[in-house]
């Protein structure tokens, strides 16, 4: 099984606004960092989202969606918290609206399965509605592929 993750955020300004220019400039190098990271399998790219018409309409243009698939929890953890990505995360308040709602979720997918944005959003809704469980969880309330809390 592979580990899928989705996180969403609403920017403080449109993508072409000067307030988020630093963030936009970092997108490419940080995505490249993910692509080259050990254990990286796949991520949702612009090419995927353009073809997924329903995704844009369902969730709104101002919602940024990050979705990726990794071999293991440790691979994802190392990328998120043990690369230059950490410094970008630390600046998130400059660019993203502060939200109290659930904005990040993980779940297991069979090897080779590439989740759709709608699938990821459904997992996020599951986490928000029912709290962490085998089908939707976080680093903090992690579940192994067998469904047991880790």
């Amino acid at each position: 099984m592979h580990l899928a993750q989705l996180n969403v955020g609403r920017l403080v300004a449109p993508l072409d606004a000067p307030e988020v220019a630093d963030f936009v400039a970092l997108l490419e190098p940080i995505n490249k960092l993910a692509d080259d990271a050990p254990g990286f399998v796949w991520r949702l790219t612009a090419a995927d989202t353009d073809s997924a018409v329903d995704y844009r309409h369902d969730f709104g243009d101002d919602l940024l969606i990050n979705m990726s698939v990794w071999r293991t929890r440790q691979d994802l953890w190392n990328y998120v918290y043990r690369t230059r990505h950490l410094a970008v995360l630390q600046r998130r308040r400059e660019w993203f609206q502060r939200t109290v709602e659930v904005h990040s979720v993980m779940w297991w997918v069979p090897d080779g399965h590439l989740p759709t944005a709608a699938e990821g959003m459904a997992r996020l809704a599951l986490l928000a509605e029912q709290g962490p469980g085998p089908g939707a969880f976080t680093f903090k309330d992690f579940h192994d592929p067998a469904g047991a809390p880790a």
Partner: protein
């Protein structure tokens, strides 16, 4: 805690303590010959004490080829090597559990407005610890285990590791602020996270 106490008690022997300190300071696997040479004891005695430290869980054991395979019997055999164990050992008598308290506070504070105050508090604490020209010694005293890596100074140990695993965003931000404060104008602390290592490294400021 019984296991922790037994592990710590295993370090009472000064020879063992020297071996443990040597292996821990290398940040890599160390063979019996090297450990014996560096601590000035026989290979047999080093092997005995290294195995005692491994039994206590203070060192982890592995097998690897340390040198080019030599001709003859056993020449290419993997050697037993030791590296520091990853489990933290704590003994406080009577029992105290500040780690649980810190984890609960980190959970409560992270991703709220209060986390910026936590980072500011860490920065102020670092500044109070700063003594001009003394930053490396301060880092050493506080368990960071600094070491030179080319022009940079890196940290072998994260003193906040358990809580940092649970709340890396908050704890690494606080640690960076703390390190910046400790270094003051002597060095520049920067976020430089790597798998299995502390999130901060330093460049020395030449003018100082």
């Amino acid at each position: 805690m019984t296991d922790d106490l037994a592990a710590v008690a295993a370090l009472h022997d000064p020879v063992r303590r020297a071996l443990y300190d040597y292996v821990a300071a290398q940040g890599r696997a160390v063979g019996r010959n090297e450990a014996a040479q560096e601590t000035g004891i026989s290979r047999t005695l080093a092997a005995f004490h290294l195995d005692k430290l491994a039994e206590a869980g203070l060192l982890e054991v592995d097998f690897m080829r340390l040198t080019e395979a030599r001709p003859g019997p056993g020449g290419g055999r993997p050697a037993k090597v030791y590296r520091r164990g990853s489990i933290a050992r704590t003994v406080t008598l009577p029992h105290r559990d500040y780690e649980q308290l810190a984890a609960l506070l980190a959970d409560a504070v992270h991703d709220t407005a209060a986390d910026e105050r936590a980072v500011a508090a860490a920065g102020a604490a670092g500044e109070r610890l700063h003594e001009p020209g003394h930053w490396l010694a301060t880092l050493r005293e506080r368990g960071y285990e600094p070491y030179a890596d080319g022009a940079r100074v890196r940290l072998r140990n994260c003193p906040f590791q358990q809580v940092a695993e649970a709340q890396p965003l908050l704890v690494c931000s606080m640690n960076l602020a703390l390190c910046k404060g400790i270094a003051g104008p002597d060095a520049t602390a920067e976020l430089d996270p790597r798998p299995g290592a502390c999130c901060v490294s330093f460049s020395k400021n030449k003018s100082r």
